[in-house]
Symmetry: C2
DNA sequence: TGGTGCATTTCGCCC
DNA sequence: GGGCGAAGTGCACCA
């Protein structure tokens, strides 16, 4: 990875257009062609370019200009003054981040414990296909009525919309004429609760301790399969 | 901004939980307390922490450990070996990125040119309040029927959902009993078109040249006010 | 390669 | 400070 500290101004054209007035910033150039320009504030780079960009060098008005171009985008960095330029050897193989507590894991846990959604609930399927894309979980309530469940860590308005969309698609099939909708999340936001209730979508907040419970319940059912 | 090149492993706890096996990476520490850990690939840091974190140093099993803690999150970086450690003075005042072609600008342009939505269309309001949040534009069609318009650069399924939500809220008011819905975007994705049509939401694709036309139209109407 | 949805999304705006 | 929505979102996954 190469890092250049420079007084620079930037012009970007692509999905949108941006320009960045001159200031001293850090430019990171990675081996895969990813480029990012950082100020001394915040996590997000001011300008950036995805991996696979092609680096060319030119000059305009006596100023060094670096261009990074990809299929549909292009960025030009005007280097008014270079204060530092260094190369650093990072690992060529990145082990990668291991996440825990993700939505897919929450979904898997619920698939094994559908009773968390309501007493007597049973699983029909995960990522169950509908005409509007796969719904996270399809379950049956205690009365045997199908319920389309959207799983989220934090449920906001869009979650209710997704449920509505899946219900809308499923209702055109005979066996799902009376499908209900449900949001299952660790955190269901207030406005989302209101919207859900107005649309007759039920919601449950799951215990924050679900990952601990996953272990506890797992130990009481010794023959469970491997988890994601 | 401080940059440390180090063989490090990381543990993060907060909104989720992650761990990162040991490898050589670049650690950026900014003056506002933002921290990010980069591999040599891609733009997104593997681990990160927002501004305002508090940095403390300790030791575990003879290894240097840096902790960065904020209100609800915490990250620990185990520095197995430090290969480089440098400080760089970046601009204390960042001029900031200037964007062009954003959604608010597109919205402003449409507000001045409602005929782009259809012949005879007139503007009622921008960010017009509904019980489900403000709708981008409220206009009247040539027959005087109100139309709730969601403006997007790229319209995907969520855009249709937003329109549905606003219509749902507006219809409970007498004067908007028969409000229609509309998506106005530079790019309306195929599945979004289908969903919109199924829900009786109309859609228009706006000319990619709208920013040029903004200039052209402006020159033919010399007394227009300042734009955003 | 394009479509769709998650993300420790980040960030900004408004309440 | 919390809620909500845009983003040049990035990114993985899947058709």
């Amino acid at each position: 990875m190469r890092m250049v500290i420079a007084t620079c101004s930037v012009v970007y054209t692509g999905r949108g257009d941006t320009r960045l007035p001159a200031a001293v910033r850090a430019i990171l150039i990675k081996t895969d062609g990813a480029v990012s320009i950082h100020s001394d504030f915040g996590n997000k780079p001011l300008n950036y370019m995805g991996k696979g960009s092609i680096h060319t060098e030119s000059e305009a008005d006596g100023t060094l200009v670096w261009s990074f171009d990809s299929r549909k985008e292009s960025i030009q960095i005007h280097l008014h003054a270079v204060h530092s330029d260094s190369d650093h050897l990072l690992s060529e193989v990145e082990p990668g981040l291991v996440r825990d507590g993700t939505e897919p894991q929450l979904q898997a846990w619920l698939a094994e414990h559908p009773e968390q959604l309501g007493p007597g609930y049973t699983l029909v399927g995960r990522e169950y296909p509908t005409g509007a894309g796969p719904v996270d979980l399809l379950v049956l309530d205690e009365a045997g009525t199908p319920v389309a469940v959207e799983v989220k860590r934090v449920a906001m308005l869009g979650a209710a919309d997704q449920v509505s969309r899946y219900m809308e698609a499923l209702r055109s099939e005979v066996e799902f004429q009376h499908v209900r909708g449900m949001i299952a999340a660790l955190d269901v936001r207030p406005k989302t609760r209101l919207l859900a209730e107005k649309r007759n979508i039920s919601w449950v907040e799951l215990p924050r301790t679900w990952r601990d419970e996953r272990v506890v319940t797992g130990s009481s059912e010794p023959s469970l399969g491997e988890e994601e």
